[in-house]
Symmetry: C2
């Protein structure tokens, strides 16, 4: 008799992530999960996204941090609803926490949910939240050698935003080398070079994102 | 009858960390644990330390990474022995891994061991390795608001190296604000402002470190 192998489906996080995804799909809501090291620019990227799409789409932000609420306060200043999740020591968000936040936000009034994960290039890559798009940010200041050291994050992401490109002259950052390494690890990744400070490249990234959101909402 | 409360001593990591410390103390070896976000400059700081002290002291480096060995290869180029620990997914080093590396390195021939932890501002702060000094690095590019979000790392560290100060003009980094916040959370922390790229401030940090090492080795 053949033994049936059941993989992954007993993982509580995956079950709840799938539940989140179903809830979002039912209401035509697009959710993205923004991940990076501390200080690579997650909040600045979110502010740029809100500036680009919040006139067209009803948005909300879920902020994950170990402690504090500086980021959610920055978001709330824009008038977009923000919910803060404090993980209390844990280094990543889990689907359950996002589920609680989604229910609090009332998804039927929303078009787009942006999740800012805890600043960490390791564990957030392991936990699905039910998102439509995994976006990772690498700051130029971190160096082009990071894919070798944090392979899961670079392999799992749909989008790589290389941020702070205005700092390149002060570093030995090699963009061609980075792109070559990342593309080898993850051939389907889309890479955008941006600076949230100077706004360089931000327009292209937002235009791409608008297309992806519109695609989901057509269905 | 009074119930005796035994705290911490059943924690396997703490037991092995204490064992590491005893092994190092017996041989008069000084060990430091270098922690930071990905790309804040751990390897560059280690190269600067080696340049400053390796003529005087016999040094070795233990490199912690999830995968790869780029950093240990950079260290080995200097002629200093380096051992690479690949954690295979885990986001921090544990005392057991350092114990294995210490035994491999033969501590009786050494004066100083430098441990480069996995790039992560969260979990490494929770795991003692048996070190004499916890050194954390914050890159100016990460921003001055990080202590609020990663309080354990800032509270646990003996030394905070604020690196890449040559990048300050390209950021809104507020050094006074950072120092005020960190000192409130951790009054005993020593803060050095450095740039491994321009070498600014590195001399003072190395002079301080030499004193601390000499202090232990006198005993």
């Amino acid at each position: 008799m053949e033994v049936e192998v059941l993989e992954g489906i007993f993982d509580a996080n995956e079950i709840i992530a799938a539940e989140n995804r179903r809830l979002l799909d039912e209401h035509g809501v697009f959710m993205m999960n923004i991940m990076s090291s501390p200080g690579a620019g997650k909040t600045s990227v979110i502010l740029a996204i809100l500036e680009g799409i919040s006139k067209e789409y009803s948005c909300a932000v879920i902020e994950g941090d170990i402690a504090g609420k500086v980021d959610s306060e920055r978001i709330a200043e824009t008038g977009v609803p923000a919910i803060q999740i404090n993980t209390g020591g844990s280094c990543h968000l889990e689907a359950k926490q996002v589920n609680t936040a989604l229910k609090r936000l009332k998804v039927d009034d929303l078009d787009v949910v942006i999740v800012e994960n805890v600043g960490n290039l390791v564990c957030p890559a392991e936990f699905k939240l039910g998102e439509d798009l995994k976006v990772m940010i690498l700051s130029v200041a971190e160096g082009h050698d990071k894919p070798h050291k944090y392979p899961l994050m670079f392999s799992e992401s749909d989008i790589l935003l290389v941020n702070k490109i205005d700092m390149i002259p002060l570093t030995d950052f090699d963009m061609a080398k980075l792109k070559e390494t990342v593309t080898r690890m993850n051939p389907r990744v889309k890479i955008f070079e941006i600076s949230c400070r100077t706004k360089e490249g931000v327009g292209e990234w937002i235009a791409f994102l608008k297309n992806v959101i519109a695609e989901k909402r057509k269905k």
